[in-house]
Symmetry: C2
């Protein structure tokens, strides 16, 4: 366990769940499920027993640093890495990888988004353990792929080669290709085949593997962080990062590494995953009642209402009659009522 | 003017506009139109120039006494009559009539609900003046009838005998009959004829006429208030009222007097009247935009929304997308969303 490190990516400024989420407080810092814990707290909690707190790293932007400290008080302050500007996932994963390498060159690392949900934590932990052991024994980059339940167009897909499992693990397969978010017709074709999986954005690798991968597949970014290696854990670190970070290309780790590297594997998983990237996905994953309604709030009475999500923070009582397929959300004295079929327009409503 | 008295009936506990109105604060004490004045303030204000403040009387229940004092500070405290229990309109009109008679036996009186709206105040004042002069010259009981604009089933109707106008006023007619709230078919028949008018609940008479009418048509109620005549304006008055009032039959002045008396007249009026007894009537009378939406609140943005009324007090921002024919109302951290076609069920939602 002492070689196991966890990296939580918490820089996202999700505004799709407005007015619940906002730039001031994106959804990873909110109790969107109404369970008493924020998504980042749930994310950290599901690694309990797998990763010691001193091995948890959080990459975020300066404005959310205090939220991270407040919500994850067990994470050492020095493990909260502040990105001075948004450069997508590759630069910050490279930065934290060099940091971890300096701390422990034998580290094995899980990288996870901070704002997704997983319902079967036991299955999740078992998957992580398998991937960790595999990554420790090999030079593999392992991704967690989710068996799709519907032709979702909001996720990227991983095409697995199910005929080619690792010789060491019969539940880990070689990746054929990464696929961008598909059109509906394509998504329907994908899910008719058994070898297309949702890309969860959860990765497992040894620190030496990922650092080498950056050196090979994106040397520019790799050099920027290798060059300042000697400053890590010194008072000048943040200043150096503030110089180097803006020079990085803004690129996802999927583009920078995954789609180029050879030794990419996928673990097909079934642990009830969602990126909670829309009100509709939040509705589906919030234990809707038999009429399809999901509610979070103090007292919510529904009449002739179906397939709605009602999410209120500041209201004592809510009565809804006669709505079908709507989101109703109240936060900080802002109220949104919108058809779920039109929720992509919500960002235009702020 | 010194003989002109105004009686504002402010005992109603309207809950049809819940959660805007409530038993704690019925709609007469609320700024339901979003104009900066409550309905009772608007009611008093539309008599400005017709009735001096010391001749304004308000009948209400004990729980609303402080609201009346606060909202109508010009009305003398001794003119606020407290009904110890609800007994409909006849007992309190009888009580206030005896009070006014003691103050000025030559008084002419207008009785008005406190929670209706009138848009054309000039036409209203002209109507009241005509009725006042007529009532002062005769023993007539005069009602204000509103020319109907649609087959409303929520109002009572007055059937006028348009062939029989008063010899003194050619715009005041004898009443043939009072009609209860009709079914839709009947209401449609009514409005095809020109002699059916909405019963506004506004009455004009001399104090001697109404006191005599009570003596003749409802002597039980009349005696209960005549018996304690000597206590009016003395410290014991409220105690006496608290004894007598519960003994009264609960009956409206329409039943107790109007439907029995002979000399009943009606003034057909066109001054933009509504009892604001439903969210739909409030919507129609709140200057809806070209899509039929009426809004009261700080910042309300509507998209693909028609024929809705949005009324919020505590929200800073409201965004509504894709609603047709709904009421959305927020007050004191309570939110209601309901189809206007189902609003009669609102009282079941409290």
């Amino acid at each position: 366990m002492k070689n196991t490190h966890l990296v939580i990516l918490a820089g996202g400024a999700g505004t799709r769940l407005w007015p619940l989420s906002s730039n001031e407080r994106p959804k990873q810092f909110l109790d969107v499920l109404g369970c008493g814990m924020t998504l980042i707290q749930l994310t950290a909690a599901r690694f309990k027993g797998l990763v010691p707190p001193e091995n948890i790293w959080v990459a975020t932007s300066a404005e959310y640093r205090d939220l991270v400290k407040e919500q994850l008080p067990d994470v050492p302050e020095g493990n909260i890495l502040v990105e001075p500007c948004r450069r997508n996932t590759a630069p910050c994963i490279c930065y934290v990888s060099w940091k971890i390498k300096k701390r422990n060159p034998r580290a094995n690392v899980v990288v996870t988004p901070s704002d997704h949900m997983i319902t079967d934590v036991k299955a999740f932990q078992s998957a992580i353990k398998d991937c960790m052991e595999f990554a420790a024994e090999t030079d593999a980059i392992v991704t967690l792929g989710i068996r799709p339940t519907h032709p979702e167009t909001g996720y990227g897909y991983i095409k697995a080669d199910l005929s080619y499992s690792s010789s060491r693990r019969n539940n880990i397969f070689r990746v054929d290709a990464f696929k961008e978010k598909p059109q509906l017709e394509t998504a329907k074709e994908y899910i008719q085949q058994s070898n297309y999986l949702w890309n969860s954005g959860i990765f497992v690798w040894s620190v030496s593997t990922i650092v080498n991968a950056f050196r090979v597949y994106h040397p520019e970014i790799s050099h920027l962080f290798e060059d300042i290696f000697s400053y890590y854990d010194l008072p000048q670190e943040q200043d150096m990062i503030n110089q180097q970070f803006p020079k990085c290309e803004s690129i996802s780790v999927d583009y920078a590494i995954m789609e180029k590297a050879e030794e990419i594997f996928v673990y097909p998983a079934d642990f009830g995953w969602s990126d909670l990237g829309s009100w509709e996905s939040l509705r589906r994953h919030s234990h809707p009642d038999k009429y399809g309604n999901a509610t979070v709030g103090e007292q919510i009475d529904l009449y002739e209402t179906r397939d709605c999500i009602i999410h209120t923070s500041g209201l004592k009582k809510v009565v809804v009659q006669g709505l079908d397929g709507y989101v109703v959300v109240e936060k900080d004295n802002t109220l949104l009522i919108c058809k779920l079929s039109e929720e992509e327009r919500i960002r235009l409503f702020h």
